[in-house]
């Protein structure tokens, strides 16, 4: 069991759980949380991709003394974007769910059956 199993494994596990919850959840908020979990797992996964053995954070606080061994900064920058996007998505989703609760009077996904014909 090395660190790779831990980092990759836990983030993939989060993604799997997210999909599982989104597939089986009945409550809309639960489903949204499943999607969020999926996003979180993905973000963790991306961060773990950036790791370089023995690397440190890419912040050169003792400039001009520069470390040669740093982790990949790009996935971190990307994840920053991805997190914000995830937040925006969930916020939008929550707004929709709140309105659904108001209109349908329920958050049970199997009661949402307006669009069929």
């Amino acid at each position: 069991m090395n660190a790779g199993h831990l980092f990759y494994g836990s983030s993939v596990f989060l993604m799997v759980m997210g999909v599982f919850i989104a597939l089986t959840g009945k409550h809309l908020i639960k489903i949204l949380l499943g999607i969020d979990l999926f996003d979180v797992g993905l973000n963790l996964l991306i961060i773990s991709f950036g790791y370089v053995n023995g690397g440190t954070a890419p912040i050169f606080s003792r400039y001009p003394h520069v470390f040669k061994n740093v982790v990949d900064p790009v996935p971190q920058a990307l994840v920053l974007t991805a997190i914000v996007i995830g937040v925006a998505e969930i916020a939008m989703g929550l707004a929709i769910v709140m309105r659904i609760k108001e209109k349908f009077g329920t958050c049970n996904i199997s009661k949402l059956k307006e669009l069929k014909w």
Binding site: V19, A22, K113
Partner: protein, 601 residues
């Protein structure tokens, strides 16, 4: 270039009439002028052998004119004139003329097309705008009939397109040209596919289902053009498919021709039977039109020189008398506002010119000399007999009998017998109709007496493809079976008629009665009581033929439609889940693809 200009003139005329908006007189005049300009261009400039092509980046439009172009072009333009004359009296608006002129553009353009894609383009134009024309139609059923027509004609068009692509794929040429050299049986498939839209247009059974409804539910003036003019495109298509595209059909697949001949025979007979069972004048005429077009298919199916001449001539005749009949009915409708045969009668004194038109129309339909119907029927019978197919021969002869039956029903129900009370003040059909009737009566007789005028031209069209067997000059024809002189036959016929008339006047006992008189023997009946024999006309025939005809191709088609609907419901079920189900599709899709990739990952 002229060919292109002709089409342009027609399109522009249509657009101009559209924008002239509410002024009816102006619209009519512009339509007539535009038509005249276009036809003048056609008649003076279109000679066989013109070529024109236009490049629009990816596609090249190729135009070419041949003898057949001129022949069919003149027929269609002539019928369109009759349509215009009648439509002056119709309720028309800008869109009406736009659609009509675009239909004409398509119809004339098809005759010019040299490559199959242009052909398809113009053919679809014609179908599309004639569909819109039917959609604008006169009664509640028109949209439904228009729908049927659209589906059928697009079905034909798509079959044609598929055939086109198969042809292009196998021969690497998009031009209308020979496919006989292709190996394998794919050429038969191509031929069949290319022939389909023409069988639809010419209403050959089993592709006729749209025709009765579409003919009877379109505006009366347009029906004249629809039946008389547009069906000619179907005939033109037979010619293109059987002579230009598959030149060696007779030697390679003779049975295919036999099938066409038989389909034609069956169409002629069955449509004839259907015709005399109709109680609506336009429906009756629609079936009669289908029946007559069946003869044309027989002519093409027999595929000898004089049978094809007969087919072409019959197409010409069909244009003349079918237009005439529809025109008369349109005129009658204009005056009495009905086409229901049970509600008319005794109009002979009120509308004498219409009566004469209808009378000679049905005489021509039945193929009696000295009218235009006779030469083609005569040739056709000879061709059938020469072919030696007894069954087909009897079928064709039987079809002629039905023609007598429905013709008589038509003339009797409308013009003879007792006049209805509410029709006492009916006047003769107005000027446009009357002019049309007179204009059509001229070729009806002239070509009946001197068919050589047209036959000469037809001979030019087909002599390149078939060994000339028919001898002809202006007024006579010689076939392997014999010789006929049409003026002589005509004179004999007329003198027989005069003779019988004399006998009738001398020996017949007549009692003069008013048209509204209820001529019963002893019982006293009030004047309101309708005694006109029209309701159960040929009731015994209906009893005889009705039951076997119940089973129809339409039912089979509906069953097919139900099957597709069922499949559609299943497909629709896919889209009926909730969000989780949709997500499940996504996961399933991922898993499936990943599984299929298997070890490669």
């Amino acid at each position: 270039m002229t060919m292109f200009y002709i089409l342009l003139v027609f399109i522009l005329t249509g657009l101009l009439t559209l924008f002239l908006g509410p002024i009816k007189v102006l619209r009519n005049i512009v339509a007539l002028l535009g038509y005249l300009a276009g036809s003048a261009l056609f008649i003076y400039n279109i000679k066989p052998g013109l070529i024109y092509s236009l490049n629009i980046r990816v596609y090249n439009i190729h135009f070419e004119s041949g003898f057949s172009t001129v022949f069919f072009g003149i027929i269609i333009l002539a019928v369109f004139l009759i349509f215009l004359l009648a439509s002056f009296h119709e309720e028309n608006d800008g869109a009406y003329y736009l659609f009509a002129f675009l239909t004409l553009t398509g119809a004339i353009g098809v005759l010019f097309a040299k490559d199959l894609i242009s052909f398809f383009f113009l053919f679809e134009t014609m179908s599309l705008f004639s569909f819109l024309m039917v959609l604008k139609g006169k009664n509640k059923n028109s949209p439904k009939s228009a729908f049927k027509y659209l589906v059928w004609s697009v079905f034909g068009g798509y079959a044609f397109l598929f055939g086109t692509f198969l042809k292009v794929y196998t021969t690497h040429s998009v031009m209308i040209g020979d496919i006989s050299f292709i190996g394998g049986h794919i050429k038969l498939l191509i031929l069949l596919l290319i022939l389909t839209p023409f069988m639809v247009k010419a209403a050959l059974m089993p592709f006729h289902l749209w025709a009765p409804d579409a003919y009877s539910d379109s505006k009366d003036a347009f029906t004249v053009f629809f039946s008389g003019g547009l069906s000619k495109i179907g005939i033109f298509g037979y010619f293109i498919a059987l002579f230009k595209i598959f030149t060696e059909i007779a030697s390679k697949y003779p049975w295919f021709l036999t099938v066409i001949a038989w389909l034609g025979g069956i169409t002629a007979t069955l449509a004839g039977i259907y015709a005399f069972m109709q109680d609506d004048a336009k429906k009756l005429l629609a079936y009669s039109s289908i029946s007559q077009l069946g003869y044309v298919a027989v002519g093409f199916g027999i595929y000898t020189h004089y049978s094809v001449v007969a087919a072409f001539f019959h197409a010409l005749g069909h244009a003349v008398y079918e237009s005439l009949l529809f025109l008369v009915v349109a005129g009658v409708y204009y005056r009495v506002k009905t086409t229901d045969l049970r509600k008319m009668g005794g109009l002979i004194k009120k509308m004498p010119l219409s009566f004469i038109g209808l009378l000679f129309g049905i005489i021509a339909t039945s193929g009696i000399p000295p009218t235009i119907g006779f030469p083609s029927k005569w040739l056709l019978y000879e061709a059938v007999i020469m072919k030696g197919d007894l069954l087909l021969t009897s079928l064709v002869f039987f079809a002629s009998i039905t023609a007598f039956l429905y013709s008589y029903k038509l003339v009797h129900s409308i013009f003879l017998g007792k006049l209805h009370k509410e029709h006492r003040d009916v006047k003769e059909a107005p000027l446009g109709y009357a002019t049309g009737i007179i204009l059509l009566l001229i070729p009806l007789f002239v070509l009946g007496v001197a068919p050589g005028i047209a036959v000469k031209h037809i001979d030019y069209i087909i002599r390149f493809y078939l060994k000339p067997e028919l001898g002809y000059n202006l007024t006579t024809m010689t076939t392997p079976l014999g010789h006929v002189n049409f003026p002589v036959v005509g004179i004999v016929m007329v003198s027989m008629f005069v003779l019988s008339l004399i006998i009738y006047f001398i020996f017949g006992s007549t009692y003069k009665a008013d048209q509204t008189d209820n001529y019963t023997a002893t019982e006293a009946i009030s004047d309101d009581f309708e005694l006109h024999y029209a309701g159960e006309f040929y009731g015994f025939m209906r009893k005889a033929f009705g039951r076997p005809l119940k089973w129809s191709f339409e039912k089979l088609l509906n069953a097919f439609l139900k099957l597709f609907a069922f499949i559609g419901e299943i497909a629709r079920g896919f889209y009926m889940g909730d969000a989780r189900v949709y997500l499940f599709y996504l996961v399933l899709f991922f898993s499936l693809l990943a599984y299929l990739m298997g070890g490669k990952l």
